[in-house]
C-alpha cells in the first residue's frame, strides 16, 4: 500500500517464484552428488557391519590374517590386497616410464604435426572399454607370455598378463597428465635456460621436468588409483584364486610375489562373487561390501594424495 502522493519504490525486490523454483531445482541437482556419497558410505558401512557382526568373522582377522577362503570361514583380506597391489604396481612399472617419456617427447620435442598424430591415438586408447582389454589380455598377452617364458612357468591365469595390459590401459592417462604438467611450465623458464647455453636435453630434463614434478606425481597417483579400481582385465586374466600365503613359511619370490601365477584381486573377487548366485542375507553378499569398503578407502586415499600434489604444484610458480 502506498500513501497518496508518494512514488512507490521502483527498486523494491519483487519475489520471483520462477527464479526460486529454478534455483531450488538446480541446487537439488548439485546436492544429489552428496546423496550419492552418503549412499555409498551408508551401504558399504551397513553391509560391512553385518559382515563383521557374523560370528565367523572378526575385524582383526580381516585386517591381519593372510588367508582368504570363504568356504572355510577364513576372511583375511591380505591375499586380495596383494593381488590388487601386484597388478597395480606392475601396471605402473609399465606405464610410468613409458608415459613420462612419451609426455616429454610430446611436450618438448614433437612438432605440431607429430603431436596431431599421436594425441588422437592416445585418446582412442583411453576410449577402449576395459572388457575389450580383458579379451586382449586373455587372447594375446597370455599366449605371448607363455611362449616367451614357457608354458610351464606361466599359468593360464596370471598376474603379469593383467598387470601389463592394465599398464597399457593407464598409459595414456599418465602421458596426458604428465604432458599437461610439462606444458604448464612457463616458457620464460625455458628461455632463461637456453640463454645460459643449455641444450634441449638440459632444458627438458633439468629445468622443465623438476619444475613439473608435483603435477607429474599427481598424475602418477591418479593412474595408480585407476589401476587399483580396474575390474574387467583383472577378472578375466588374473584368475579367481586368491594368493593365500603364510609369511615366513612360503617362499617370497617363487610363490608369494610370483607374477606368473593367478592371483585374485579385490575387484575380481567382488565381480565373481556377485555374478554367481547371491542371496541377500548370505555372508558372501556381506563380504563383497566389506572388500568394497576397503577398496573405496584405498582409492579415496590415493585421490586425496593426488590433490595434495596438485595444490603444491600450483604454488610453485608464484
Amino acid at each position: 500500500m502506498h500513501i497518496e502522493g508518494t512514488v512507490p519504490n521502483p527498486f523494491r525486490r519483487r519475489p520471483r517464484p520462477g527464479e526460486l523454483a529454478i534455483r531450488g531445482f538446480l541446487f537439488i541437482c548439485g546436492a544429489l552428488s552428496i546423496a550419492t556419497t552418503i549412499g555409498i558410505l551408508y551401504e558399504l558401512g551397513k553391509e560391512s557391519y553385518l559382515f563383521f557382526a557374523d560370528e565367523r568373522v572378526s575385524v582383526l582377522d580381516f585386517l591381519t590374517t593372510t588367508v582368504w577362503q570363504p568356504q572355510a570361514g577364513r576372511f583375511g583380506i591380505w591375499p586380495l590386497v596383494l593381488g590388487t597391489l601386484m597388478i597395480s604396481v606392475m601396471a605402473m612399472l609399465v606405464a610410468g616410464p613409458l608415459g613420462l617419456l612419451s609426455a616429454i617427447y610430446l611436450s618438448e620435442y614433437a612438432s605440431p604435426r607429430v603431436r596431431g598424430f599421436f594425441k588422437p591415438v592416445l585418446e582412442v586408447l583411453v576410449g577402449v572399454p576395459t572388457v575389450v582389454y580383458g579379451f586382449f589380455a586373455l587372447t594375446f598377452m597370455t599366449p605371448l607370455l607363455r611362449s616367451v617364458f614357457g608354458a610351464n612357468v606361466v599359468g593360464f591365469f596370471n598376474v603379469a598378463s593383467a598387470g601389463i595390459v592394465v599398464g597399457i590401459l593407464i598409459l595414456p592417462l599418465i602421458s596426458s597428465l604428465a604432458e599437461d604438467a610439462l606444458s604448464a611450465v612457463p616458457d620464460s623458464l625455458r628461455q632463461g635456460a637456453y640463454a645460459l647455453g643449455a641444450s634441449k636435453l638440459d632444458v627438458s630434463l633439468r629445468i622443465v621436468l623438476p619444475a613439473a614434478l608435483s603435477g607429474i606425481a599427481a598424475g602418477f597417483v591418479v593412474a595408480m588409483s585407476r589401476a587399483v579400481g580396474e575390474t574387467m582385465v583383472v577378472t578375466l586374466a588374473a584368475g579367481a584364486a586368491p594368493r593365500n600365503f603364510v609369511l615366513g613359511q612360503d617362499p617370497l619370490f617363487s610363490y608369494v610375489l610370483n607374477p606368473f601365477q593367478s592371483a585374485q584381486a579385490m575387484t575380481g573377487y567382488i565381480a565373481i562373487t556377485a555374478s554367481g548366485d547371491l542371496s541377500y542375507n548370505s555372508i558372501d553378499y556381506n563380504s563383497i561390501f566389506a572388500v568394497g569398503l576397503a577398496l573405496f578407502f584405498m582409492t579415496l586415499g590415493l585421490n586425496w594424495l593426488s590433490r595434495r600434489f596438485v595444490r603444491r604444484y600450483r604454488q610453485e610458480y608464484e
Partner: protein, 294 residues
C-alpha cells in the same frame, strides 16, 4: 686454426661496403667504433614470409653500454636476439646476413648456437628465476657450461656473481631458500647474477627494468654502469631517459609501413648517446626524441 687478423673498420667504411640499394643512408658520422666485440652486418630477419626488420648494420664497442631504442614493433628485440641466436628457437624465424663475435660469424653453419650463448648472456624483461634455491639458480649456468671447480670453488663463483649483481649482502644468509622468495627487483638481480656466472663477455638485457618499480630500476641502472667495466652491455629499452642515463652509444630504430600495410623495422640512426639526443642527424630521430611520435 688460422686466425683472421684483427681488423678495424670505421663505421663509414662498413656502410659504404654494404650499401647496395638507394635506401636512405644510416647516419653514422663520427661514431667510430674502435674495438667492436660484436658486429651486425647487413642483417634481415624474417618470420616466415614476413620481413620483421631489414638492413641492419651495427657495431658494439667493448666495455661500453649500447642502447637500442625505438617505438614498439620496430624490431629492436628481434635484432638483439640475433646476437645470441635466440631467434633459432622460433621455428619460422630466419636470419640473413652476418653477425660477428670477435670477428667470427656466429651464423656460420658449423657454429653451434649453444656455444654462442655461453659467451653472450641474456637477461629478460620479466624476471624468470628457476624454481630452485638462490644458490642453485646461479650455479646452474656454470655447471652446464662445464665448470670444473670443486664445491668450495663453486661457492666462490656464486658469491662472485651475486656480488657483481649487487645482491650478495641481501641473500648471503639465505642462499638455500627458493628464488621466488625474493622481491621483483631482487629476482631480476638474481637473473643478472645467473647470467654472469658462466663468465660471458657480452650481456644482453631486454628491457630489464620495465617490470620493476622506480627504485629497483635505479639500482639496476647503477648496476649496469659498474658491470660495463668487465662486460659489454647491450640493452633494449623503450624508456628514452634510461637510455640517456646509462648508455654510451644509442641505435634508434623505427618502422617502415609499405603499401600493403606491412610493418618492417629499420635502423634509422646510430651514434654516441649525447650526440643522438642533443643533435640528431635524422628527422625521424628528432621526432621520436621530442615525443612527436612513437
Amino acid at each position: 686454426m688460422v686466425n683472421p687478423p684483427f681488423t678495424r673498420h670505421t663505421t663509414e667504411e662498413t656502410m659504404n661496403e654494404s650499401r647496395t640499394d638507394t635506401a636512405p643512408l644510416v647516419s653514422t658520422a663520427a661514431a667510430e667504433v674502435v674495438d667492436a666485440v660484436m658486429r651486425i652486418e647487413d642483417v634481415d630477419v624474417y618470420y616466415g614470409d614476413f620481413l620483421a626488420v631489414k638492413d641492419v648494420d651495427l657495431q658494439f664497442a667493448r666495455h661500453e653500454i649500447t642502447a637500442l631504442i625505438g617505438p614498439s614493433g620496430c624490431g629492436k628485440s628481434t635484432v638483439m636476439r640475433c646476437l645470441n641466436r635466440m631467434n633459432d628457437l622460433i621455428p619460422s624465424a630466419r636470419v640473413e646476413g652476418k653477425v660477428y663475435f670477435n670477428d667470427r660469424n656466429i651464423y656460420d653453419p658449423d657454429v653451434d648456437p649453444v656455444e654462442v650463448r655461453r659467451r653472450v648472456g641474456m637477461v629478460f624483461q620479466r624476471p624468470n628465476p628457476f624454481p630452485k634455491s638462490i644458490y642453485e639458480n646461479v650455479a646452474w649456468g656454470a655447471r652446464i657450461n662445464g665448470f670444473k671447480g670443486k664445491r668450495g670453488e663453486m661457492d666462490d663463483l656464486v658469491e662472485r656473481a651475486l656480488t657483481q649483481a649487487a645482491l650478495w649482502d641481501e641473500v648471503k644468509d639465505k642462499l638455500h631458500e627458493s628464488g621466488y622468495s625474493l622481491s621483483g627487483g631482487q629476482q631480476q638481480r638474481l637473473c643478472i647474477a645467473r647470467a654472469l656466472a658462466p663468465d660471458p663477455e657480452v650481456l644482453l638485457m631486454d628491457e630489464p627494468a620495465s617490470a620493476l618499480d622506480p627504485i629497483a630500476t635505479l639500482r639496476i641502472e647503477e648496476l649496469m654502469l659498474t658491470l660495463k667495466e668487465q662486460y659489454t652491455i647491450i640493452i633494449v629499452t623503450h624508456n628514452m631517459q634510461q637510455a640517456g642515463r646509462v648508455s654510451d652509444r644509442t641505435a634508434f630504430f623505427s618502422v617502415d609501413v609499405d603499401e600493403r600495410g606491412q610493418r618492417t623495422g629499420k635502423l634509422v640512426e646510430f651514434d654516441f648517446t649525447d650526440k643522438l639526443f642533443t643533435s640528431p642527424s635524422e628527422k625521424e630521430t628528432e621526432d621520436y626524441i621530442t615525443g612527436r611520435f612513437g
